[in-house]
């Protein structure tokens, strides 16, 4: 099951900003309807709903993950919140892939999607165990899940307006292809936060040739610093102008 990590913290930071900071030009408001995809064990939703400054702006929180163990843990975590804190929030947790477990009506009501579905190149899965056995299947460029998400968003919904979308982009996927995807569907992006982090030393050293090949093919990006291979997570806010 996926465990919270640095990317989780960064996504939570951006989600908190989106929900609380009126000076940000995100066009969001109180009474928010939020959908979190790839919720893992529920850490992000739990944090947003446990803090008064974020909870007070949320009316509906929906969370889903493809992994059954994650959903069970998320349910336990949400149930640990005091009932008084959740009385004004409609909370749903479901198992499913991307948007498939949510109805057209539910999706059309959504103000903000937090898309935290795994996205690193499949070619790295035999090098790093970032997802603790959880499903990835993001393709060679790490973007298959995001591609499918965008297709579903366009196909499933008759939207009068698109929701805002928070999405982390790890440099262990094709960053250029990600931006090209956004352009192809008319989404603009605002980089909200960026943080470098070290790749596991031994695994990286033992697979140096493969990593260099993938970087040369622009499937991933990292830089080297004193023998450490350093990747980056960028968290974007996406919207249709």
């Amino acid at each position: 099951m996926f465990r919270p990590n640095l990317t989780t913290k960064l996504v939570l930071y951006v989600a908190t900003e989106a929900v609380t900071n009126p000076s940000l030009s995100l066009g969001l408001h109180t009474g928010l309807n939020i959908l979190e995809l790839g919720c893992g064990g529920g850490e992000i939703g739990y944090q947003l709903l446990s803090r008064k400054d974020t909870r007070q702006n949320i009316s509906v929180y929906r969370a889903s993950d493809i992994h059954e163990g994650s959903i069970i843990e998320a349910g336990r975590l949400f149930n640990s919140l005091p009932p008084s804190q959740l009385s004004a929030v409609q909370l749903s947790v479901r198992r499913g892939s991307l948007l498939s477990c949510w109805s057209v009506t539910e999706l059309s009501e959504t103000d903000l999607i937090i898309n935290d579905v795994s996205a690193i190149s499949d070619e790295l899965l035999d090098i790093y165990d970032f997802f603790d056995g959880s499903v990835c299947n993001a393709g060679d460029d790490g973007l298959d899940n995001f591609r499918e998400f965008l297709e579903q968003l366009q196909d499933y919904i008759q939207l009068s307006r698109w929701p805002g979308i928070i999405v982390p982009l790890l440099s262990l996927s094709d960053v250029s292809a990600f931006h090209e995807l956004l352009r192809s569907v008319g989404l603009t992006s605002e980089l909200m936060v960026s943080k470098e982090w070290p790749l596991p030393v031994e695994a990286s050293s033992n697979n140096r040739d493969k990593l260099e090949r993938l970087r040369n093919a622009s499937k991933i990006w990292y830089h080297e610093l004193g023998g450490m291979m350093v990747a980056r997570t960028d968290v974007y806010y996406l919207k249709k102008p």
Binding site: L6, W197, P198, V201, E224, L225, G226, G227, M228, V230
Partner: protein, 79 residues
Amino acid sequence: MSRQEEILVKIVSSALQCEVNMESDKDSVAGWDSLGRLSILTALSKHTNGAAAKLSQLVYCNSMTELLHTLRENGVVLD
């Protein structure tokens, strides 16, 4: 403490945002984890105008003495 040691202590203390000394290592300093190591390497690289970044052995240094030894062995001077 030599001048080099003084500078290294200052760099690593700043990078890890805690006081260290030349006896410090990854087991004695709570923040000397993988992210802390990245902070140390970033700070050393900045201080040495990129010279430290080229030393691939630095990532394996787990103590202040190992850091200083590796820098000296490769002719990287902290000043």
